[in-house]
């Protein structure tokens, strides 16, 4: 069985079977990363290019390690070193890379829709590693994997996503993916950081953190972006923190078995307090570990089981 899509552009393109298959595959790959020799020959001879037009440590490294653990050759190209700095446009850059016959292109770009644009010109599969404020599907998948491995089943779980929803591709991907898996999503944040008409996606919207977290199974805290302060979305980080920082005091009102996830990087003490971040509910580092497994699964499934070398 293979995925219903040739590219991973967004959670919106993945159906329930796709997501289940990706999570199951990732689950089976987790073990590889615990071996003393963390490498299998599955994708030997395959070439993966990470084309990153935005700074990224976690995601780029995660894709790179995932490719290498499957024995693929992974090449990293960053925005500053690519020809786009010389004025070459995105499409031409990607076409030139494709001329060198990569098997997968992983793209991060600051414009929403950048990966979708490339699929019109590029034949090899594309994984969207974040496009503007649109989607970041592999992040949503690793979040689901993390939640599933602690809760067993995703169906019926309640989630509160807290923070800057407006500018967050992580939130958008998670809303879609979680709804596909039968979860109920609530978003929490100051109204300027909630995009218009979000309720029409079937999402509950709130600005009251304590109330919103009482009945949920999972709290997803998003990074608040400092640069938004000067854009009329935020009065100050201090005030944001007064109302939306997830502290031990607020957490005390949540269910005892609540899980806390955060896509990173964390602003300690602004959106989440240090003790909560490092406390027993937090799965922040599990997420990072699971990220590698998810990306291994995506590479494996996109290149097709038939196409890959025997283990």
């Amino acid at each position: 069985m293979s995925l219903s899509t040739k590219n991973i552009l967004g959670a919106k393109d993945l159906n329930k079977q796709d997501i289940q298959q990706i999570l199951d595959t990732a689950e089976s790959f987790k073990e590889i990363s615990t071996r003393s020799i963390k490498k299998v020959p599955t994708l030997r001879g395959k070439t993966i290019i990470n084309l990153f037009f935005e700074p990224s440590t976690r995601t780029r490294t995660s894709f790179e390690i995932a490719g290498k653990r499957l024995s693929a050759d992974v090449i990293n190209i960053s925005g500053s070193t690519s020809s786009t700095a010389k004025g070459e446009n995105l499409i031409d850059t990607a076409r030139n890379l494709e001329a060198m016959n990569p098997d997968i292109l992983v793209v991060r770009h600051n414009c929403s829709g950048a990966s979708a644009l490339l699929t019109q010109f590029i034949k090899c599969p594309i994984i969207n590693a974040g496009d503007g404020a649109h989607e970041h599907p592999s992040q949503a998948l690793l979040d689901l994997l993390t939640i599933r491995s602690h809760k067993g089943d995703l169906q019926g779980l309640k989630v509160a996503i807290v923070g800057d929803i407006r500018h967050s591709r992580v939130a958008r991907s998670n809303i879609k993916a979680m709804q596909t898996m039968g979860m109920q999503v609530r978003v929490v944040g100051p109204p300027p950081l909630i995009p218009v008409e979000l309720e029409r996606l079937g999402v509950e919207v709130s600005s009251d953190l304590s109330k919103s977290i009482k009945d949920v199974d999972v709290i997803m805290v998003l990074r608040i972006q400092h640069e938004r302060q000067n854009q009329m979305f935020l009065s100050s980080l201090r005030e944001y923190s007064n109302y939306f920082c997830l502290t031990a005091e607020i957490l005390a009102q949540a269910r005892k078995d609540v899980l806390i996830v955060h896509p990173g990087p964390v602003n300690r003490g602004i959106e989440i307090s240090l003790d909560v971040m490092e406390g027993p509910h937090s799965l922040i580092l599990n997420q990072v570990t699971n990220g590698v497994a998810i990306r291994m699964a995506l590479f494996y499934l996109l290149l097709g089981e038939n196409n890959a070398n025997p283990n």
Partner: protein, 431 residues
């Protein structure tokens, strides 16, 4: 050579004429309009004939809002290619917006445009001068000089006049020259970085939205200024249902305001942006289904005065990029008729009214002695088949640019002949 256009259905709203008439053209002017078969005798010897059986014969269309990009951006369009596009769309007169490079904010640029038009264009090109010098929104342009050089209105189109004081003075000063101020209504502080209508789709796509209030607020501001300033306000490419309502209320109070709508704003919604199709990116943006309904109501009750295309050619390099980086606008001249006829199909307006919105009304608004094919008038005429069906193929457009969201649409209404001053400047299949 004299020409007889016979057997057609003549729709000439300026003269309230709609029926089977034959039209005799001589020396570039209308010599006779008579009931079918009544033009006879010595007059018919050795003249050219056009059989318009089953077709509509009307004044040539007049588009008061196009961008021909010359001077400055000839790779997108020139006066020559724009005119070819216009005549293929049935237009015999167009008003070109001043956001060229250099900007049409002084006599020498106006004269250059008119001189290029004489050399390369078969249709009537009417320049619109800038409201502010350099379209910078800071100081008034020399409106008198612009009028003397041939401008027929003032606009900073592409950019709104944000400064209320400047807009007030522009409305006042333009009164001296009896020409309208055409406003692209958009509060830029509300649309900064925006690239589509703000709503559920922009939220899903993660694109910065342009809220409908940005349009409404400026329309409201300009209308508010009018009571004291006088002058004539023409609201360009109205796209918001709320703005239509504001214009309706202002008209009821007797204020001198008029407005236009572009065909894309009554045929497409924000849904068209869903796949990040940059040919669906325009300013003002495609709005919602509800806005379209309110625009149709405005067309039905006469709140909306004219149809204008906002023909905005952009080449592939400006459109085949990330959505947020793409230029705003689409070409419109060669799709205006079939899209307008959709309103007739939907029984929003009659065919006669559709012709009126494209001919007599724009000329009345801009005080042009055109859009009228009464005896003695210059013979600017279009002949179209309102029934013939075809598929829109942008690659076949005469325009230098092909940026149209209507590729593949099955439509009705084909231009067969376009005549300017009695001379055929376009014939279908004869290009």
């Amino acid at each position: 050579m004299p020409t007889l256009i016979k057997n057609g259905r003549v729709i000439d709203p300026a003269n309230k004429l709609d029926g089977s008439f034959d039209i005799l053209i001589n020396d570039g002017r209308i010599e006779a309009v008579e009931p079918k078969g009544k033009i006879s005798g010595s007059k018919l010897k050795g003249i050219a004939e056009i059989d318009a059986k089953g077709c509509v014969v009307s004044p040539g269309f007049c588009d008061m809002h196009v961008h021909f990009r010359e001077p400055g951006h000839e790779y997108k369009e020139t006066i020559e290619t724009g005119s070819a596009s216009a005549s293929a769309g049935g237009f015999t007169t167009v008003a070109v917006m001043p956001n060229t490079s250099p900007v049409n904010d002084n006599r020498s640029v106006t004269e250059l445009i008119l001189s290029q038009a004489r050399k390369t264009s078969a249709i009537n090109i009417l320049p619109i001068g800038a409201i502010s010098k350099g379209l910078k929104g800071e100081t008034l342009s020399d409106m008198g000089e612009l009028k003397e050089a041939g401008c027929i209105g003032y606009s900073d189109d592409g950019r709104p006049v944000m400064d209320s004081e400047l807009m007030r003075r522009a409305l006042e000063y333009s009164r001296m020259f009896d020409l309208p101020c055409i406003q692209h209504s958009e509060m830029l502080d509300l649309t900064l970085g925006g690239c589509m209508n703000e709503g559920i789709i922009s939220t899903e796509l993660g694109l910065k939205g342009m809220p409908v209030e940005a349009e409404d607020i400026m329309v409201f501001r300009d209308i508010s200024l009018l009571a004291k300033t006088g002058g004539r306000l023409h609201v360009a490419h109205i796209s918001s249902g709320g703005a239509v309502d504001l214009v309706r209320q202002a008209k009821a109070k007797g204020l001198p305001v008029t407005c236009e709508v572009a065909p894309h704003h009554f045929t497409l919604t924000e849904e068209a942006c869903r796949e990040y199709d940059t040919n669906s990116k325009m300013s003002p943006p495609l709005r919602t289904h509800q806005d379209i309904e309110l625009i149709k109501e405005g067309l039905r009750d006469g709140t909306i005065d004219i149809i204008a295309t906002d023909h905005a050619p952009h080449d592939l390099a400006d459109k085949q990029v990330e959505f947020s980086k793409a230029c705003f606008g689409i070409v419109g001249l060669e799709t205006a008729l079939p899209l307008t006829l959709k309103l007739v199909d939907e029984k929003i307006i009659t065919l006669e009214k559709a012709v009126d919105l494209l001919t007599h009304q724009p000329c009345r608004l801009f005080n042009l002695d055109k859009g009228d094919i009464g005896v003695g008038k210059i013979a600017d005429i279009v002949i179209f088949d309102p029934q013939s069906k075809y598929c829109i193929e942008p690659e076949k457009f005469k325009s230098r640019s092909k940026n149209s969201p209507y590729k593949g649409w099955q439509v009705r209404g084909q231009i067969l002949h376009t005549l300017v001053a009695g001379k055929t400047v376009y014939s279908v299949g004869n290009e």
